[in-house]
Symmetry: C2
Subunit: 168 residues, 2 copies
């Protein structure tokens, strides 16, 4: 489906976002995790290539946010770790983990239905992440420590000097 | 094993970090992904509860960074989505995705052997993430768009008003 007008594009965005919200509702009602859903859509043909909802509590996986689940599924289906040419529709504004996952996945657009503040009001407060991201590594509430190791440098060197490793 | 002195603590840190680097080397040589490894250790008894290495290219999963893999494994083994009382040892400085995953997992300490700049020199440049994190949502190279939807607010409201959902 080729976009025909700005209005058609906006309708399409709303439809996909509505599905993301429905996935949020379904996952929540099924007790799989928090009320968050996400849909990944290929831009050129409007095909949904990945769906996800929050599964943190049901799978004991703190990384199983809706966006990460959708990305992993889309990448598996398309057999690629790069999802250029797609848009992710998330019911809630992606947290820094999910945002960075979207960017590593090379997703082209990120659209969400509810801002972080709305999630904060129902108990999902990402603010501790944003606060620490604005601080230097040693001033964060969980300091990031650097302990240099020669073996670490050696492994990087090995990677750099052998072109047979798959770059990404 | 209770720490006996600052020197003993530092030796312990080096040992765990050396294992993270060995996992990096093993995963790289096995062609599973980039040269990155991570180990999660329970602080009170010094037991390794999770190991991971980068598997992005071999599993077509852009989120399969070493730290995320280790967190998912540790959480599965311990049957919890919260890893308080643990330290993560990563061969490379965690990228923003992995850093946020560590924080969501409630890991207490983050230690790494090689700074982001060293990874950048061998082709793993996280700088595009740090650059965008310093910008507002609409000024990032992939803008984060907000399209409000009443259904989204309704799902949050449903979560907020039903105490039977598992909080986290």
């Amino acid at each position: 489906m080729t976009p025909t007008s700005p209005d058609a594009d906006r309708d399409r965005d709303r439809d996909h976002l509505a599905e993301a919200v429905e996935l949020a509702r379904g996952g929540m009602e099924a007790r799989e995790g928090g009320p968050f859903g996400a849909v990944i859509v290929r831009t050129d043909d409007d095909v949904v290539v990945g769906r996800g909802w929050n599964r943190v509590t049901s799978t004991s996986d703190p990384t199983a946010h809706a966006e990460v689940v959708a990305i992993r599924r889309a990448a598996r289906v398309l057999r690629t770790f790069e999802l250029e040419g797609t848009t992710i529709y998330a019911s809630g504004e992606p947290c820094p983990m999910c945002w960075a996952a979207c960017r590593w996945a090379r997703i082209d657009r990120i659209v969400h239905a509810s801002r972080r503040e709305a999630a904060g009001e129902i108990g999902f407060d990402d603010q501790f992440l944003y606060d620490d991201l604005a601080r230097s590594a040693d001033e964060q509430s969980v300091p990031v420590e650097h302990l240099p190791l020669q073996a670490g440098a050696d492994v990087y060197q090995r990677w750099a000097t052998d072109p047979s490793f798959t770059r990404y």
